[in-house]
Amino acid sequence: MQALVKLENISKYFGSVIANENIHLEIFSGEALALLGENGAGKTTLSKMLFGMYKPSQGAIYINNRAVKLNSPKDAIDHGIGFVSQHFSLVPSLSVAENVVLAKEGGAILDLKKINEQVAATAKKFGLSLKPQAIVSELSVGEQQRVEILKALYRECKLLILDEPTAVLTPQDVRALFKTLKSLQEKGLAIIIITHKLDEVIEISDRVAILRHGKLVSTEITKETNARALANLMVGRDTIAVSRNTDHRVDEQILFAVKDLSLKNKRGLKVLKDISFNIHASEILGIAGVAGNGQTELLRVLNGLQKPDRGEAVLAKQKLSFNDSQHYNNLQIGRIPEDRHKATIADLSVAENLVLEHIEDFSKAGQLSKKAINQYANKLIKDFQIKAKANDKARTLSGGNLQKLILARTLAKEPKLLIVAQPTRGVDVGASEYVHQKLLEQKRNGAAILLISDDLDEVMRLSDRILVIYEGEIMAEFAAEDASREGLGLLMAGNRDAA
């Protein structure tokens, strides 16, 4: 059988970051291919290349055996490729039909009645229950996703790519989505579904392509494999030669205690479910989990950006007030955030970014002490090997250097509690190594450290104890030496029996 779409030796580099390397993959009409991989494995990048949003650094894409250049989503659409991204691109104030038709070019005059009929016909043909006249902003997330799918179908796509479509859905919506996908498949469409939930892979797919660190490690026939084998492939059985933190001596004293944190999101879904844990002095507690399982929300709460619905956190007998970050300075809590760009200001200087969090130390009677600021900045730049000058705009820094900037301003205050998220995401190897060293140094100096990371290697390498979070809930706890990649991988994918 001839492949509908064929990827030949596709690679994609972002500077020194390898997002995809030497990928060979074929997709056939009428099949559902699952793209499985940990966070950062390169799934989104691969699908964006198929949809013309990124240009491959190397390699070729064939559609029906003809080499094609996809320079824009329009090219991809013209070649029959549809993409439902993690972030919907709908106009909330317009109707379903208008959104669907907007996406298709041509024709200056809109005949609303005709459009509604056409869209209704397409929806009916593919069994999507949607009212063409409904206003998008009034639809549920599941329905909005259906509009995105309808958009692609209306443009007569032959291959539909869905990037983590279930991440935002309720279980009921997931059922409905899978039913839709099955029927599309029966109509001969090829489907690529991106996910990191093993049970979903098993349920929906015919074949599974597994990505790890940007490389395609294997393609499996779903029927001939099982969750455990897939988890192994996803996280890698081979414990790579990382030097693990083997000094698991921790202090007796519990420094930080979190109790029963619960939080609902705007849509009323529980995103944190009674989260409780303790961290001792001189201990690194790692929380492993696939992104989107409550880590971001937990961080927002602990970082003082959001109040939880219930629960408390106590640092050395002092309760945290959750929405007052000023309070954090006094309690000596250091925070290394998940997203560097939401914690630094690109158009301010390196020096300003270094001092802003503790600006009261650098001003007298409201006046800035420029000299003190520059001295301090130059010292940190030197101590933390930041490759930049004090007056450079933060915008000019590479990911690794920006991370060092945050590390510098946080660690220079010798925090008692350190809340660290994704400390090496998008950071090159050298800088990652440096960040890890610094965190271990803090541990030895007696800090309690909470480490939240999607990178399982990182969690295993640094932690003294590991928790696994899945759908807002702590699934299990391991002493670091008892944790195996397989066990963690299965738990991260929601397989409780592994505990």
Partner: protein, 352 residues
């Protein structure tokens, strides 16, 4: 395939320097077309607008008189814009200040001049800030877009003042719609003999100094910029975003209010309709064209005042419409905005 795409890429230093110059050039090319349509010689008109005013003492001074409210509203707008608060209401806040001056001014006769003037300034600042308060609160508490609310409030105060002027304030004898005159002690002194140039110009210069000092030298100024350049990050770095933005909005309104006081106390000595021909809006052009810094605003204020002064005399001597000055200013704003965009984004050819 051939196509264009827009990429985020800061311009080089040379480009940054060239951009305002190019904006001006584009503006004058577009204006030339209009002048030709109006049946005049563009070169003659530009000479009249840009150079002629320098040849006479009165018009040289007139530029400074015109620049006074423009610099004040420019500084007002710059405070707000720096904090990412898009105050389009300087016009209304100016009128609030002018109204306060007209209300307080007549009662200050018993006071010595410096006291009276301080009270005038305070009253204007407070009135401007109060007029800015509601949209600012709506913004920080309920995330209501300030562009819309500040803009709408401009016409509210204009109608209110119009009602006062045509109602209780209407001069019973002459029938003129004007407020009672302010006390002599509340009038701004002239700062140059035989001219209209008044103390308000000094205040405008002081406001430039204040803008420079606050943004460059104070903790509040740094926090203000942080909020303007990255709200979320500012919040992460312990900055009270809502308070800072509110403060910026009120200061902005206050300074615009002072611009109103300056027009009343320095030039007219009573409040009339149309005391501002849109200084509050021109202030937006001044602040933007001056890239929100003190030196830039000083230049932009003087430049636009030159265009105002020059186009008035050009319309008289060459018979072209006086609105040409407005057109030039508006075109300049658009050209500046495009130029600013190009400062941070570059249009590139899409490589296949």
């Amino acid at each position: 395939m051939f196509g264009l795409k827009i990429e985020r890429a800061p311009a080089s230093l040379l480009q940054r320097f060239m951009i305002p110059i190019i904006a001006v050039a584009i503006t004058f090319i577009l204006a030339s077309i209009l002048i030709l349509i109006a049946g005049a010689n563009p070169l003659e008109v530009f000479y009249e607008i840009l150079f002629k005013p320098f040849t006479k003492r009165t018009s040289r001074i007139e530029i400074l008189v015109q620049a006074t409210p423009l610099i004040l509203t420019g500084v007002a707008v710059a405070f707000a814009f720096s904090a990412g608060y898009y105050n389009i209401g300087a016009e209304g806040q100016l009128y609030a200040g002018a109204l306060a001056a007209a209300l307080v001014g007549p009662k200050l006769a018993p006071l010595p001049q410096f006291m009276a003037i301080i009270i005038m300034l305070l009253a204007g600042f407070i009135a401007g800030a109060l007029w800015a308060l509601l949209p600012a609160l709506l913004k920080v508490k309920l995330q209501v877009d300030e562009v819309v609310t500040t803009l709408l409030l401009n016409s509210v105060i204009l109608f209110f003042i119009s009602a006062l002027l045509n109602g209780i304030w209407r001069d019973p004898i002459s029938g003129w719609p004007k407020s009672p005159a302010i006390a002599r002690s509340a009038e701004f002194p002239q700062i140059m003999a035989r001219s209209r140039l008044h103390f308000g110009f000094i205040i405008a210069l002081l406001s430039l100094l204040a803008l420079w000092w606050v943004l460059k030298r104070t903790r509040f100024g740094l926090e203000l910029k942080a909020v303007g350049l990255g709200k979320e990050a500012a919040r992460f770095m312990n900055i009270k975003v809502a308070k800072t933005m509110l403060a910026a909005a009120l200061i902005s309104g206050g300074i615009a209010g002072i611009a109103g006081v300056s027009e009343v106390a320095g030039l007219h000595h009573y409040l009339i309709d149309g005391i501002s021909p849109g200084y509050g809006y021109t202030g937006i052009i001044v602040a933007t064209f001056g890239s929100l810094n003190a030196l830039g605003i000083a230049f932009a204020g003087l430049f636009l005042a030159l265009i105002d002064t020059g186009s008035l005399s050009a319309s008289r001597s060459l018979g072209i419409p006086a609105y040409l000055g407005d057109v030039i200013q508006a075109t300049l704003l658009l050209a500046t905005l495009v130029a600013l965009l190009l400062n941070n984004y570059q249009i590139r050819r899409k490589d296949a």
